[in-house]
Symmetry: C2
Subunit: 435 residues, 2 copies
């Protein structure tokens, strides 16, 4: 494997050479490489945990906070589950070679549209070291070379994981350069990686808006942003209140730090007088801080769950008045913006204005409202009577994902093995010329 | 329609508003708008030709050359054929709403993957004014708003065409902003258009490498480059010489100025002594200038079709020694680079080094060679025993195309109606929450 000091351009050029070989490997070779990687991770987990401990110590010294430390932490069990995930990816169908279209043209030319690997995929990610292996395994399975660029926080963990995976892949017959890690968490290295148009076919940033903005201005390589989502749950006039409560609570609280968690709850004015006090109670019990618009706030007060503009006592929900900024914020935390709207059209309008095109849900019993919402909301995933939390490659039966795309080109929603591929047309004739 | 002086950002914002309505129009409304556009073009062809005459005069004064003038020229017949093309697009199947996947998940959630419009598509193009209408019609049919940006050379023609199309679309019930033209051929306007990330979903440049490079450094909006192609024909050892001749000649001469024309001919050493003299003769008769490598040149001399390093007399082909630059050049003209290789692997290697990933052809009778070539060549279209000239949306049964993509993301090869769309997942549950 390229060492930590190999220049970015050289790492990418080697990845490109590897990609040409990888693209033509049969499924068995790729799968046995994946099993070799899983075995090596399990065998060398002590080494991985020791490297991780160095990052953890540095993190504790730098006081990065318990949430980040928990994301960073690796132990035997976590390494085992990383290895298991690699075996799961090996068990998925090979996307390469699938014939996804084709026909015999009137002139007799036979056309096949076949799925092929993209080539070299660069993945830029933040703290979680497991991404190193998840992303590498997805790229191996889909016949792509991968260039990883993790964060400085997980430097030693990522280096150990990538080195072990690359060595195992190499010993199982994969070309050198199939899996590489570029060191250096600086913006200069990021810019260098994002401009390797000769060798890198796609760059996938996994991180927040800061990373997105850093890339947007410099990237010349095609980018798929696996960005966070500003997701909404809209409770329609005649919704089943129990289902609406369950969906709103699940979308907000089941795992608040992920991109498919809800950030705003919109409630139809007809159901709001009854629904708002109930949902505020439940949110408060779950420790959710509420940023409500004027109407929601008034209804909460009328329902006795908010007393004035100050946060109430500990048992009552912490409620404050939502600012314009709240509607646009992805809290990724136990905070929820709540607004009252007068129609499904107004809910759609609100989502068009503030949503990030990730996952949006309506809770309704009305067929016309469901149709209008699904047609009118422009997002990767539009739910009727289900939580936004289902937007996930695993849940959708795609096996695994490298992220969730909120952009519209190439991949929208979960980025799985198929989305890591392109296609080519194979055309066969018998001396055909165009007239 | 926005006037020529409306700022780019405002034009794009209006297009975005229009796109939300367009996305939900039924097929009949879009088709009748397309027929209204076709009718208006036919009725007002005098006006269009008069506007075109102003561009032609300016072009003649500026001495832009006969090829460019021919591309620019509109007459009654050409306007009629532009209108006919619009009717052809109306007759194509509507790509919007097509269910392209779906399943019922184990938990009972019903998932549909449905094709939907991208939103706002910007098309940047050079001289040909017919692109104004072709591109607009494809966008209307696929439910997208279009922002056109033509060249200064065709300013008056484009303005007349866009204005007539926009007015007809509007009178047929399409929202204002469905079809817009931004004036100003300057790089500043191009950069402004290419950075409207809030409103523009995709920018498609149709032009040469200069346009591509100009965009690459400034674009923050996703781009699909409909660039020219450096296409190859490789004649394998045991190829049928008559078919190889026909394919090489067709790929080079049938329409040399287009992106799927061949720019380099590679010939296997075993067949070269017999094939090179023949193909050089035919190329000479077709007025093709040849840039040959040392081996091809020697064989041509041995075969009596080249006498020394100078171009021969008028009846003999103009042959010169190929430079390194020739292999990388897309002549888009009656010029062909010719090289001799020792194997199909060497041909694949040459194409990997110099090809632009557009269209590549092998002429062979050998099944293993055909398989190796199709697997090893990384291009949008890989042909066996057929001319590269078939790479075309029309030829492929896609009806029409807005260009040919040589990039790997989202669209590769012809960009037709489907490629102007994205998809969304529609998920329906009965109160489903994630556990």
């Amino acid at each position: 494997m390229a060492t930590a000091t190999t220049p970015v351009a050289e790492v990418c050029a080697q990845a490109k050479r590897a990609a040409r070989t990888l693209a033509q490997l049969d499924t068995a070779t790729k799968d046995s490489a994946l099993h070799a990687i899983a075995d090596a991770l399990a065998e060398r987990s002590g080494e991985i945990c020791a490297a991780n401990e160095r990052d953890m110590e540095a993190g504790r010294s730098a006081d990065i906070g318990s949430a980040l430390l928990d994301r960073l932490m690796l132990d035997e069990a976590r390494v085992r589950s990383i290895a298991d995930a690699v075996r799961d990816i090996a068990a998925l169908p090979d996307p390469v070679g699938e014939v996804i279209g084709g026909q015999r043209l009137a002139n007799g030319l036979q056309v096949r549209k076949v799925r092929v690997p993209l080539g070299v995929i660069a993945v830029v990610y933040e703290a979680r070291p497991n991404v190193t292996i998840d992303a590498a395994a997805l790229c191996v399975k889909s016949g792509n070379a991968i260039v990883l660029r993790g964060s400085a926080t997980a430097e030693h963990s990522n280096a150990a994981l990538a080195q072990i995976a690359a060595a195992a892949a190499s010993s199982a017959g994969l070309p050198d350069g199939a899996i590489s890690l570029v060191a250096g968490g600086g913006r200069a290295e990021l810019a260098e990686l994002a401009t390797q148009t000769e060798s890198v076919d796609l760059i996938i940033p996994r991180g927040g808006e800061g990373l997105k903005q850093a890339l947007e201005t410099v990237a010349t390589v095609p980018v798929i942003y696996a960005a966070s989502g500003n997701c909404h749950v809209y409770v329609d006039a005649g919704a089943d209140e129990a289902k609406a409560l369950a969906i709103a609570m699940n979308a907000k609280t089941q795992r608040p730090g992920v991109c498919n968690a809800a950030e705003t709850l919109l409630v139809h004015a007809d159901i709001a007088p009854s629904f708002i006090p109930k949902v505020f109670e439940d949110l408060a019990q779950a420790g959710v801080e509420i940023r409500a618009d004027g109407r929601a706030l008034a209804l909460a007060r009328a329902g006795g769950v908010a007393n004035g503009s100050d946060p109430g006592p500990t048992s009552a929900p912490a409620i404050s008045r939502a600012s314009e900024e709240d509607w646009a914020t992805e809290y990724l935390d136990l905070t929820l913006a709540v607004g009252v709207v007068d129609s499904v059209a107004e809910a759609i309008e609100h989502i068009a204005r503030y949503g990030s095109g990730h996952s949006e849900a309506i809770v309704t019993r009305d067929l016309a409202a469901a149709r209008a919402f699904q047609a009118g909301v422009d997002a990767a995933c539009v739910y009727v009577n289900a939580s936004t939390r289902f937007t996930d490659g695993g849940e959708f039966g795609m096996g695994a994902e490298i992220g969730n795309s909120t952009q519209k080109l190439h991949a929208r929603g979960p980025i799985g093995l198929r989305e890591l591929c392109t296609m080519k047309y194979l055309i066969e004739g018998e001396g055909h010329v165009r007239t």
